[in-house]
């Protein structure tokens, strides 16, 4: 690995870790991606288990869990209104899954040789499925509550009638592109951060191996850069999970209240 070029895309490779399993033409092999989704599920389950004790005077752990629930609850109340409380369970699961998956992705397990964490959210298959869940909820809630009146979402109030042939297609396109932009944003932000870390890490290794006088200087500067980028990555992990949840709540607001 140290000799030659370090491939920054190798970390995103989905590898099977069990025997090949094919059911009815579909490949259901257990991969490292699936393993880390179970890890995220386990961590989330443990986090909630510690906070569900319902003590009158909450301990630290219970305060942490109540703080997260209150944060999501507050977000739904401000962006959707009192109706939004019905979507808090979905939004909380979504937000916590993304947050823990992002944080597990940057967890530096690779200092143990042979192990490295797999960033579940750095694959568009995962983020797009979550985005389509959100989009499906928007469609289902919109048509269930408003029927065909839901299409008035594409007709903004107060616009002159002769602009309608222009505005309605534009609104329709911007509505249909939402799940793609939602999934793409999270996936690209995580992928870009991981590639950046990997590239600077390879600079450290190849600088030390180069044997020249300038090599250790480059290594040291790259190492300082890794520390800074890691701090930035932690921020990006939280912000991207928050943005995904916030945009989903805005789209649900469209479906519930029809602007």
């Amino acid at each position: 690995m140290a000799a030659g070029k370090i491939d920054p895309m190798h970390q995103f490779l989905v590898q099977p870790i069990s025997n090949r399993l094919a059911v009815g033409g579909y490949d259901l092999t257990f991969t490292n991606s699936a393993l880390f989704m179970f890890v995220v599920l386990g961590l989330l389950w443990l986090f909630m288990l510690g906070g569900m004790r319902r003590q009158l005077v909450p301990g630290r752990w219970q305060v942490a869990v109540e703080g997260m629930v209150g944060f999501v609850d507050n977000m739904m109340r401000t962006s959707v209104g009192p109706e939004g409380r019905r979507f808090v369970p979905y939004m909380f699961s979504l937000f916590m899954f993304l947050l823990i998956a992002n944080l597990v992705g940057v967890f530096p397990l690779a200092i143990i040789p042979g192990f490295h964490t797999f960033a579940v959210t750095s694959h568009i298959t995962v983020t797009a499925v979550l985005a389509f869940f959100s989009f499906g909820i928007v469609l289902a809630v919109g048509f269930w509550r408003h029927g065909l009146h839901f299409f008035s979402l594409f007709v903004p109030h107060g616009a002159p009638w002769w602009l309608m042939p222009l505005i309605v297609p534009v609104e329709f396109i911007s509505f249909m592109v939402r799940p793609f932009s939602l999934g793409l944003r999270l996936f690209v932000a995580m992928t870009a951060g991981h590639i950046l870390l990997e590239v600077f890490g390879s600079f450290v290794v190849s600088g030390l191996n180069s044997g020249g006088a300038i090599g250790p200087v480059v290594s040291f500067l790259s190492f300082v850069m890794i520390v800074g980028v890691s701090a930035l990555e932690l921020l990006v992990c939280a912000i991207q999970a928050y943005v995904f949840a916030l945009l989903t709540s805005l789209y649900i607001n469209d479906a519930v209240n029809l602007h």
Binding site: M9, T78, L184, V188, A192, V243, L246, L247
Partner: protein, 75 residues
Amino acid sequence: MDPVSAKYIGAGIAAIGIGLAALGVGNVFGSFLEGALRNPGAADGQQGRLFIGFAGAELLGLIAFVVAILLLFVV
């Protein structure tokens, strides 16, 4: 021109868009701070809109990044 070098030049040109998105993100947060310092009482209520603007500005830069990655690894 050699197609491989054209690919790398195209990826480099696509990276310019990421710098422009950095200008946009800086503008979003800078304008928010400017307004928040004038009226700190109203700042907390606008954080949701701040992140919506951030998400919109960032997405366009990330699309430039996707173009660069597609040129480097897929084409």
